[in-house]
């Protein structure tokens, strides 16, 4: 059984301008110790999927309308807030997007790092806690950890803060780490280091990783599985191996080509024409059809089903019917 299984998840946001179907029938699963990359452009529902898993949707607008989120066999959608508090930070660690704003400015690093350990593992003694978080800081490769513990977030660099955040997410030995574009706010030079760090931690502790990004080539490098999301739906998913070999959905392909290769100079970056659809006014048929170079009549009439091109590779596109 998979560690995380999302089945037909619908998460809607009820806003002044109408109902936004942020997550609209998403399904995917992640095995223990494996890595799944969730890819898509801004506003496609990636973050809402993550927040649904943690049940931390914006209140009161966001609501899980239907679907199941099975984590280790138990449905998180049915859990009470009290039960969820015991899962968040303990069995599911989260690395949010922006390290600059994710740490509380008025507490020092020691306080913020020891907190989940105190809550979830019941450790009380200051010395024990301190040794433990020093150890964690070493694991996330922060030099001079004893001194850093006394620092406040504003005294650390962005890369350092993101390491601290990463350290917090692994501090209670979770089964699953969710990383929401953890490198977007970092300098390019620090990004690669951080990604390597996440990979090391992931393989050393054999923890499952759900990595969200808009960078498909990065996902190809670090993940086992890929799911490409567009307008709240998964349009293509499968093993990295399969999808890298043969990227099928026109949207996935567009994502790959819009990232420039390092070794060639091109005048103009290829981009996807048009705008992602407004989620409260979705077009009829395939949501990508208005921007798709291969759109056929059928695409404008009905949303394509999921077609399996091989055992571990499926795509929602009429061209592969």
């Amino acid at each position: 059984m998979a560690l995380l299984e999302i089945e037909d998840l619908h998460t809607y946001l009820y806003t002044r301008w109408g109902t936004v179907k942020a997550v609209d029938g998403t399904s995917f699963s992640l095995e223990r110790g494996k890595t799944l990359g969730l890819v898509g452009e801004s506003g496609c529902g990636k973050s809402m999927t993550l927040l649904s898993i943690l049940r931390l949707l914006p209140w009161p607008a966001g609501r899980i309308v239907s679907g199941r989120i099975l984590f280790d066999g138990e449905d998180l959608v049915q859990k009470s807030e009290g039960e969820l508090e015991k899962i968040r930070g303990k069995r599911i660690g989260m690395i949010p997007q922006d390290p600059y704003t994710s740490l509380n400015p008025v507490f020092n690093i020691e306080k913020q790092m020891t907190e989940p350990i105190q809550i979830h593992l019941g450790l009380k003694k200051r010395q024990v806690l301190k040794e433990r978080v020093t150890e964690i800081l070493r694991k996330v490769r922060i030099g001079d950890p004893e001194k850093r513990l006394e620092c406040y977030p504003h005294q650390l660099s962005g890369g350092m803060r993101q390491r601290v955040v990463g350290g917090i997410s692994i501090s209670c030995n979770p089964d699953l780490i969710i990383a929401d574009e953890p490198t977007t706010a970092l300098d390019v030079s620090v990004q690669a280091q951080y990604i390597n760090l996440i990979r090391d931690i992931q393989s050393t502790y054999n923890v499952a990783l759900l990595y969200v990004s808009h960078d498909l080539s990065l996902i190809f490098r670090i993940c086992d599985q890929v799911a490409v999301m567009y307008a709240g739906k998964i349009v293509e998913k499968g093993s990295v191996h399969e999808i890298f070999k043969e990227t099928l959905h026109p949207y996935s392909r567009a994502l790959v080509t819009s990232i420039p290769p390092v070794d060639c100079d091109i005048e103009r970056l290829p981009s996807i024409p048009g705008q992602p659809p407004k989620l409260f006014a979705l077009p009829q048929g395939c949501y990508f059809a208005p921007r798709c170079p291969h759109a056929m009549d059928k695409c404008r009439q009905a949303y394509p089903e999921e077609f399996f091109v091989s055992e571990g590779h499926s795509v929602s596109c009429w061209r592969y019917a």
Binding site: P96, S102, Y152
Partner: protein, 305 residues
């Protein structure tokens, strides 16, 4: 931290000096105090004699230096009216004002913080809207009206507490309620919006992702950050209470600084006016210093630069 406080103390003295100088010349533009004291049938010679008795016949710069000397020695001169040393008057009246202000501030904080927090946490509920209505009422109701209504209802009709004057602890109740209404209303509104902003911040969301429970999340992670913008407002308000609310002290016949200042102005009792304003400036700067120290304690970004 020490050098920070020392620097601020130095600032305090410079500001005080500037204010004292401006005030010295300003009060002398309000007219001749000797005329206010002289009986209506006094001759110009009489008035001159009275002025000489007050030291007003000397050249302005001499008066100015005498004035500074009085302040430096802490005596603030002598009241024209009661002939008592101004320092005595200031001391007795400021203690009365400080006592009332302290009761008001403590009462306000005890009430306002839970209300502000609850209004933010229980957003979009009846609780929030009731607190909101109360806050708008508190901000808009004038102090003198509130005071009179309270006296009429609670002191006169029900006879529960004295209507005015400063006697036992029960005499604090009505003036403290009147003064704290505005402060509570302001604090609640400010804290509510500040809490809502902070509850929506990334670090609060991240704390929830760590599994922090609701109570510490609100009272530790959120409140400490949300208090920072509220502190400045509270400081200004507290400084205003310390300078004595003329309206409330008049309505409740409270022998405080506000009334002392008010009657001294009417009577052109210049040494008393000067003494009061000196004290007000000192209070205002002192409270500001206190607010700065408190915010730097709450926020390490201020403390550590």
């Amino acid at each position: 931290m020490r050098s920070f406080i020392l620097r601020r103390l130095l600032q305090l003295f410079v500001t005080l000096f500037v204010f004292l100088t401006i005030m010295f010349f300003l009060v002398r533009m309000t007219g001749n105090p000797a005329e206010a004291f002289a009986p209506t049938d006094a001759t110009p010679e009489d008035i001159k004699r009275i002025a000489a008795g007050m030291g007003l016949d000397k050249p302005l710069y001499i008066q100015y230096f005498l004035y500074l000397k009085d302040i430096a020695t802490g005596s603030f001169g002598q009241s024209h009216k009661s002939l008592r040393p101004v320092s005595d008057l200031l001391l007795t009246h400021s203690i009365n004002t400080i006592k009332l202000a302290a009761v008001t501030v403590v009462l306000s904080i005890i009430i306002a913080i839970p209300l502000g927090v609850v209004a933010a946490v229980k957003r979009f509920t009846l609780i929030e809207s009731s607190i909101g209505v109360f806050a708008v009422f508190g901000m808009s109701v004038p102090g003198f009206w509130m005071g009179i209504i309270l006296i009429e209802l609670i002191a006169v009709r029900l006879g529960l507490v004295p209507a005015g004057g400063m006697s036992g602890p029960s005499s604090y109740i009505l003036p403290a309620i009147t003064m704290s209404t505005l402060l509570i209303a302001g604090l609640v509104r400010l804290l509510r919006s500040s809490m809502i902003d902070t509850l929506d911040s990334d670090f609060v969301r991240f704390a929830r992702m760590k599994g922090v429970r609701k109570r510490p999340l609100i009272w530790k992670h959120t409140l400490r950050n949300a208090l920072l913008p509220v502190l400045g407002f509270a400081g200004v308000q507290i400084a205003m209470f310390l300078t004595g609310s003329v309206v409330v002290e008049t309505v409740f016949a409270w022998p405080g600084l506000g009334r002392l200042m008010y009657s001294a102005l009417i009577e052109r009792d210049l040494p008393v006016v000067q003494g009061c304003v000196t004290l007000f400036v000192f209070f205002a700067i002192f409270i500001n210093l206190l607010v700065d120290i408190l915010s730097s304690y709450l926020d390490p970004r201020i403390r550590l630069g």
